[in-house]
Amino acid sequence: MSKMHLDPQRTIERVNATLGRRYRKEQRFRRFGLGAVALGLLFVALMFLNIIGTGYSAFQQTRVLLDINYSEEMIDPEGTRDPAILSSANYAGVIKQALRDRFPGVTSRGDKRELYTLVSSGAALILRQQVMENPGLIGTRASVWVPADDDIDMLVKGHIDRAVPESERRVKDQMVAWVESLEVEGRVAKVFNTTFLTSGDSREPELAGIGGAVMGSLYTLIVTLLLSFPIGVATAVYLEEFAPRNRWTDLVEVNINNLAAVPSIVFGLLGLAVFINFFGLPRSAPLVGGMVLTLMTLPTIIIASRAALKAVPPSIREAALGVGASRMQTVFHHVLPLAMPGMLTGTIIGMAQALGESAPLLMIGMVAFIVDIPGGALDPSTVLPVQIFLWADSPERGFVEKTSAAIMVLLGFLILMNVLAVILRKRFERRW
């Protein structure tokens, strides 16, 4: 008790003596915190700068203007206009003819081979499509913009240095000269790359697109949503509103929380063993992908949904029961509608997680080269993160920018989904 009677003057002195130190400590702590935030932001900014810096050029494509002669003798020598003949005609030959006409000085076989590599092998497909849609083109002449080869694309975009010695770059001096002469005439242009957004995968960077991967991701997410939302909400409602409190439900609860921390590759192995090997579902299908991702997102949705149900005040339930509603009516007429915004937010975040996941899909064969755009949940397909992984490992220089551009698209979708979650929460969430 004697300490209570200390001289007030001395107490103030003691406080003053340490005051400066304590203030400094707080200042230091604040600076640390600020530094940590700044460092985090710096890394995010660096990542975005790096990805956008390398990726933005993939949204443009180099095209070359060629004077095409849709000569009847090359496309349809017998003049039957039979679609089967038009479909299998030698359009590559038409393109080669156009290139030879433009550069008549090229005669040797080796030089011609190099000349033909100026434009993409996809150019012939463009002509084929034109002729199939409008057979009246046969026998006419027209100027057509066709995609350039990926090496030429890299050259025009400045990713291949024209100053290094010829032997060290893939584009030879005479090809550079050809491209430059075309550039002088305004026959080379960079246009918005619709191919990248609409077509499927290809081994030619100038023809490769994320259309197939986006559709694959879409089907996978639809399956995931259709399975995980009802199961997740039903589980949460049962555990929160109906289940008796006993050891069993405790065990279930602990296990659900643990599942949320299981590495996603484990779900992939489970999917391989159960869905593919036991049930015999097809490999590489969005159906199986969606089922595996359902396992992964279920804990997230269940936990978020239970939190949303817990946040509904008991007075609502009591009032409903008080006017004679059954427990089921209480839940479905009153509690669930009020908890729905929180549940939807949790679901969207779970979906965003599933969209960015690639590890479990490695196991079930979705890491594959698939050209045709999937038309349903049973067609073989790949997803966006897997497409990024595949392109990152491709030797062609043109895939470097494609990889970053695909990351930009994936990040765009993720940001969109997260914004949606925030808006839902802000607009519909009720606080009591």
């Binding site: 081979r113 291949i160 060290e168 081994r203 009802p230 579902l281 490992d393």
Partner: protein, 348 residues
């Protein structure tokens, strides 16, 4: 009860979908090596574009993983073709036979060179396979001779071979799961390892310890496992001119402005040197076809015809543009004939 019904419905839907799929498949399913993947995918794409068939689906599972899936059985749920960056092993053939996969057609498609490359900013290295072994093995013969093995003491290339520059040994390479690593260890390191007589003698008496000596890569930081991504290795070499990297020839071909291949046993890794066999670190690439599926799955024989056509694997074919080294004419014709008649594989 509600959730029970949903789970039941989901399970039923899944089972229904499963049986529907088991009935038929209208596209070819290919699995296997990541080294063959860039070549197989080009063929598949061309095949899909020029024929009425669907584009084959190609998974990159690694050679061993691919053969495991391939040998799992006959039927639409199993792949039709597997790619491999090494020949099928007799144990794998036995496993195949056990699951009813009896007739396998072997197709050798060409060669792939494995290069040791460094940045253009540095001098090209002139290595022998012995140098490679001494620099990268976990245990090497001690310098006094006498046939004793010691932990690898070499820190710089000059210590390995006085003709080499005095820079630190730093090699970036693929992890053990990779076929490139297997081939590198077998061709380059074992090739150098065999130049020591007492180790060579060991092969006859004690094959296990011979393999352990020749195939074990040092783990003290001089060899860095850089993952399966060869593009990443190229980027790291650019940033660090002192380091060497190990990857396939196609990556050297595509990045000739950034990296250069080291000479191995005096031979530069060029297209011609790998094709004529004078470059020592090169390996054949294969794919294997399940004969029971030919005729059942639409398009297999047409796909084989496309792969073995001159415009694909010929001297001036599109696979060559992607960095594959073609076989000599005679060998090519031999395999093309075997494929046409679907002659099954016989291991000798």
């Amino acid at each position: 009860m509600n959730n029970n019904r949903i789970i039941l419905a989901a399970a039923l839907a899944a089972a229904a979908a499963g049986t529907a799929n088991a009935a038929s498949r209208d596209y070819i399913s290919v699995v296997g090596s990541s080294t063959v993947y860039p070549f197989a995918t080009v063929v598949a794409e061309n095949f899909g574009k020029t024929t009425a068939f669907k584009t084959p689906k190609i998974e990159s599972t690694g050679s061993g993983g691919g053969l495991k899936l391939f040998c799992a059985g006959v039927g639409v749920e199993h792949p039709d073709i597997t790619n491999a960056s090494r020949r099928i092993k007799s144990s794998e053939v036995e496993n195949c036979a056990k699951n009813g996969v009896n007739e396998i057609v072997e197709v050798k498609i060409g060669y792939d060179g494995i290069v040791l490359a460094n940045s253009k900013a540095a001098e090209p290295m002139k290595l022998s396979r012995r140098d490679v072994f001494l620099a990268l093995a976990k245990q090497v013969p001690n310098t006094q001779g006498g046939g004793e093995l010691v932990d690898n003491p070499y820190k710089t290339w000059k210590e390995v071979n006085p003709a080499l520059p005095a820079i630190e040994i730093e090699v970036l390479g693929p992890p053990p799961t990779s076929g490139t690593r297997d081939a590198f260890v077998e061709l380059a390191m074992e090739g150098g390892c065999k130049t020591f007589d007492f180790i060579k003698a060991m092969k006859k008496q004690d094959k296990k310890s011979y393999k352990r000596v020749c195939h074990t890569v040092r783990e003290d930081g001089a060899f860095i496992e850089a993952g399966e991504n060869d593009n990443l290795i190229v980027q790291k070499l650019e940033a660090n001119p002192k380091a060497l990297g190990i990857f396939g020839f196609s990556f050297l071909d595509q990045n000739a402005d950034k990296v250069q291949g080291s000479l191995v046993d005096g031979v530069e890794p060029t297209f011609e040197a790998i094709a004529d066999g004078s470059y020592p670190v090169s390996r054949p690439l294969y794919f294997y076809v399940k004969k029971a599926h030919v005729g059942k799955i639409p398009g297999i024989s047409e796909y084989l015809a496309e792969f073995t056509s001159d415009k694909a694997w010929g001297d001036e074919g599109y696979l060559v543009d992607k960095g594959m080294i073609p076989m000599p004419n005679q060998e090519r014709n031999q395999f093309a004939a075997d494929v046409k008649n679907l002659n099954p594989l016989r291991l000798n």
